[in-house]
């Protein structure tokens, strides 16, 4: 057995050192006055990328080490030791964690390089890279944590760095507000998580993953009968917050106020997936409670559908992608809830997580490339159009990402989505239907974005003058595009790697599922073609266009039904979902909570009149009340 603890420390240390070094040296300083401009402009990026390269290399070595099988890590430091509660600094080094670490490192690397182009000329670029590096450090910390408490600590650090990065452009009030909202909403989930951790500790007497797993194995009788349902659901609360599941999903679309590389890295590829990763990490716990799994699966499925429907009516290109992210995360969470422990375990969820990391960051970065072309001034797809002529590479990359997302055969997303759909078919017909319908919506809104923003004619003056982005931006796009294409094939080995020695068992539901999924894809595509390919100036779903109406009336007799369906049902549904989202959840849930707290706070302050006599009265009255309660004869 090889002890590779040192290797893990090195992986983690890379980004952290980068952050510290950047903060310390990348500024104006008398020590290197001549280099100050260099230090202020570009040194941060170089340092961050160099350190990250190192971490990636070490992560690869760790992967290699796990492949040979004989690795172990040793706890290095006793973190907390108070009577019953003992927490060591220990690490999880297994197939799951090294794969996640590789994904984080590779995607981060692409996005770091991309950021050099995207953030070009921004005065705070060093600050940006320092925060980004710090984020990568915290994320890797989550990945390698060996117990729940450490995971929670890194979990919070990730939250903090996300908060800092969303609010990166502090000149925009919306950005600061969004950052705060993200942080607070996340903390609501995290509190559930913390309580869940304490409950698990209460039940099993440990917070260490290995110990809990062993305990559950050794005491099957004591943990049966739903003892673990509440703890598992509370832990799931953490995932609900971080992975933006219903009803705590409201923060993610707002988080798009941050710079696009941040959206790609944190709010699409890695951090939001941390919730799913965490569920896989504690899968032994989740799998021990069927009731909790049902709840998880349904919340995931509903999130997937709801967000897909909302995405159909969004016009901001990043918001479309944000809702799409929500929807895909819903798929993953659903997959966790539907997992069959004996067969493939959490493989479907993690498989989709990895392919999603590639194609969703690709989509975001392509969108970012478009935003660069518009000089950071425009994100509305109805002001774009005709970009394919001017920006062929970006368009091509976006299309690859899109096809992967919608599950076009042969691309990575196809394989992972098929796995999930196959699983759903096997385990829960209702959720399978839900997921398939979602797939249809997915293809509809993604093609809508493609048709409106990239094809057709330019819809605004700015759209006519766009230029292709420089290679420092396009390079990462191409790299991610390649990964998005090949990521799902068996020879890449992701599913096999995840299942490990047990061997992959094929889902039996093959062709049937494939057919239905393709049907959904084609229907979504067809609808999008009908509505948007001809280049309408405005969304025909919103304003009924006479000519569109006529075409539909003439060409397909029964398409009238679709239009009505789309117009009333889908449009209405989208509007309703949006309404629920805006008012009920964001309003009552977030703003409402704050509002209630504000009002309550004001009410409580009524006691605080500033008058001494009132104070004396309240003091004495409080005492008398206590006396009357406690001192009874």
């Amino acid at each position: 057995m090889d002890d590779v603890t040192g290797l893990l420390w090195r992986i983690l240390a890379g980004p952290l050192c980068a952050a510290v070094v950047i903060v310390l040296i990348c500024r104006r300083s008398p020590f290197y006055a001549d280099f100050s401009p260099v230090m202020e402009r570009s040194a941060g990026a170089v340092i961050a990328i160099a350190f990250l390269l190192g971490s990636t290399w070490f992560a690869w070595m760790a992967l290699d080490a796990v492949k040979t099988g004989n690795v172990t890590t040793s706890p290095t430091y006793r973190f907390i030791d108070v009577g019953d509660l003992e927490v060591n600094v220990n690490w999880s080094l297994d197939r799951l964690s090294v794969m996640m670490a590789m994904i984080v490192c590779v995607v981060s690397l692409c996005i770091f390089v991309y950021s050099v182009g995207y953030m070009h000329g921004d005065p705070g670029i060093n600050r940006f890279f320092a925060k980004l590096s710090f984020f990568v450090f915290s994320m890797l910390g989550i990945v390698f944590s060996g117990n729940l408490v450490m995971m929670f600590v890194f979990w919070e650090l990730v939250g903090v760095s996300s908060y800092l990065l969303i609010g990166y452009w502090y000149q925009r009030p919306a950005a600061a507000e969004a950052g705060k909202k993200a942080f607070i909403v996340n903390r609501i989930g995290d509190f559930g998580f913390l309580l869940g951790i304490l409950l698990v500790w209460n039940v099993t007497g440990s917070v260490d993953f290995t110990d809990i797993r062993n305990y559950l194995k050794a005491h099957p009788a004591e943990v049966s009968g739903g003892v673990l349902t509440i703890p598992a659901l509370l832990i799931f609360c953490g995932a609900v917050g971080k992975s933006a599941q219903l009803p705590l999903h409201v923060w993610l679309p707002d988080a798009m106020e941050g710079p696009t590389p941040v959206s790609a890295l944190i709010h699409a590829a890695t951090m939001v997936a941390a919730g799913v990763y965490m569920l896989c990490r504690v899968s032994f716990l989740v799998f021990a409670s069927p009731a909790a799994m049902d709840v998880i699966a349904w919340i995931g499925g509903l999130t997937a559908l709801l967000s897909a429907v909302i995405a159909c009516q969004q016009n901001d290109i990043k918001r479309i992608l944000a809702y799409s992210t929500l929807s895909q995360l819903g798929y993953m969470v659903m997959a966790v809830g539907l997992s069959v422990p004996q067969v493939n375990g959490y493989m479907p969820a993690m498989f989709h997580l990895s392919t999603h990391a590639f194609f969703k960051s690709l989509l975001f970065l392509s969108a970012g490339s478009v935003i660069i072309a518009f000089h950071h001034a425009e994100q509305d797809i109805w002001k774009m159009g005709g970009l394919w002529k001017k920006m062929p590479i970006t368009t091509a990359c976006f299309t690859v990402g899109l096809l992967a997302l919608t599950g076009f055969p042969g691309l990575s997303g196809f394989f992972s989505k098929e796995t999930i759909l196959g699983l759903a078919r096997e385990r829960n017909e209702d959720l399978f239907t839900l997921a398939t319908v979602t797939a249809g919506f997915t293809s509809f809104y993604m093609f809508r974005a493609l048709f409106v923003a990239f094809l057709g004619q330019p819809r605004s003056e700015a759209a006519g003058k766009v230029k292709e982005s420089p290679w420092v931006v396009l390079g990462p796009l191409v790299a991610l595009a390649i990964l998005s294409v090949i990521g799902g094939y068996t020879w890449m080995g992701i599913p096999g790697w995840l299942v490990g020695d047990k061997g992959l068992s094929e889902a039996p539901a093959g062709t049937n599922v494939l057919l239905l999924a393709m049907l959904a894809f084609v229907m979504g595509l067809a609808l999008a073609v009908v509505f948007y390919l001809c280049g309408p100036a405005e969304d025909p779903v919103k304003t009924k266009f006479p000519f569109l109406h006529r075409i539909l009336w003439n060409k397909f007799g029964f398409d009238e039904f679709y239009l009505a369906l789309v117009k009333y049902v889908q449009g209405g549904l989208a509007a309703l979902c949006e309404l629920v989202d805006r008012w009920v959840i964001a309003g009552a849930g977030v703003r409402g909570t704050a509002g209630v707290a504000q009002t309550l706070g004001k009410m409580l302050q009524l006691f605080q009149t500033g008058g001494l006599q009132t104070y004396a009265f309240l003091f004495a009255a409080g005492l008398v009340i206590i006396l009357y309660y406690v001192v009874t004869q």
Binding site: F617, A620, V624
Partner: protein
């Protein structure tokens, strides 16, 4: 004799106490407080707390109340002007105080009755206890008095040095 004196001292003391909180002029309040303290000293004597009766007169009625009167004269306080009667504060105060009184009364009523034990609180007896068992708090009290002296000098200095 003891009982009659008890009733006399108690009723007189409570009346003076009532007048302390009801007089509009602070000088009157202070004077009634002195009277109340003197009756209290009488009660102490009934309880055979001779030492306490003496320091009650010396320290309280003599020193503390003189300080009060001095400040009242120094600030030249007149009787309070009649102002808007604040029923809420007034009623609240009375109710809370009455509720407290009732509670204590209820508790005291249930006490087992015991006979008085003849221990006289002479200066010698109290002093012996004070300088043996209670030496530590006695010393701490000296620190407290030092703090108070420093504080009073600082707070009431007129000029800023």
């Amino acid at each position: 004799m003891h009982d009659q004196l008890f009733w006399f001292f108690s009723i007189a003391m409570l009346l003076s106490g009532l007048l302390v909180i009801l007089s509009r002029n602070p000088v009157n309040s202070a004077m009634f407080l002195v009277v109340a303290m003197c009756f209290m000293a009488g009660l102490f004597v009934l309880l055979e707390a001779h030492f306490l009766a003496i320091i009650q007169i010396l320290v309280y009625a003599g020193a503390v109340m003189v300080l009060f009167l001095f400040v009242i004269m120094f600030l030249d306080l007149k009787a309070e002007r009649r102002r808007r009667f604040r029923i809420l504060t007034f009623g609240g105060g009375i109710i809370v105080a009455a509720a407290f009184m009732v509670k204590v009364h209820d508790v005291v009523e249930d006490m087992p009755l015991v006979a008085a034990k003849g221990v006289a609180g002479t200066t010698e007896a109290v002093g012996r206890l004070l300088f043996t068992r209670y030496l530590l708090p006695f010393e701490v009290a000296s620190l407290l008095l030092l703090v108070a002296v420093v504080g009073v000098v600082l707070l009431s200095k007129r000029d800023l040095k």
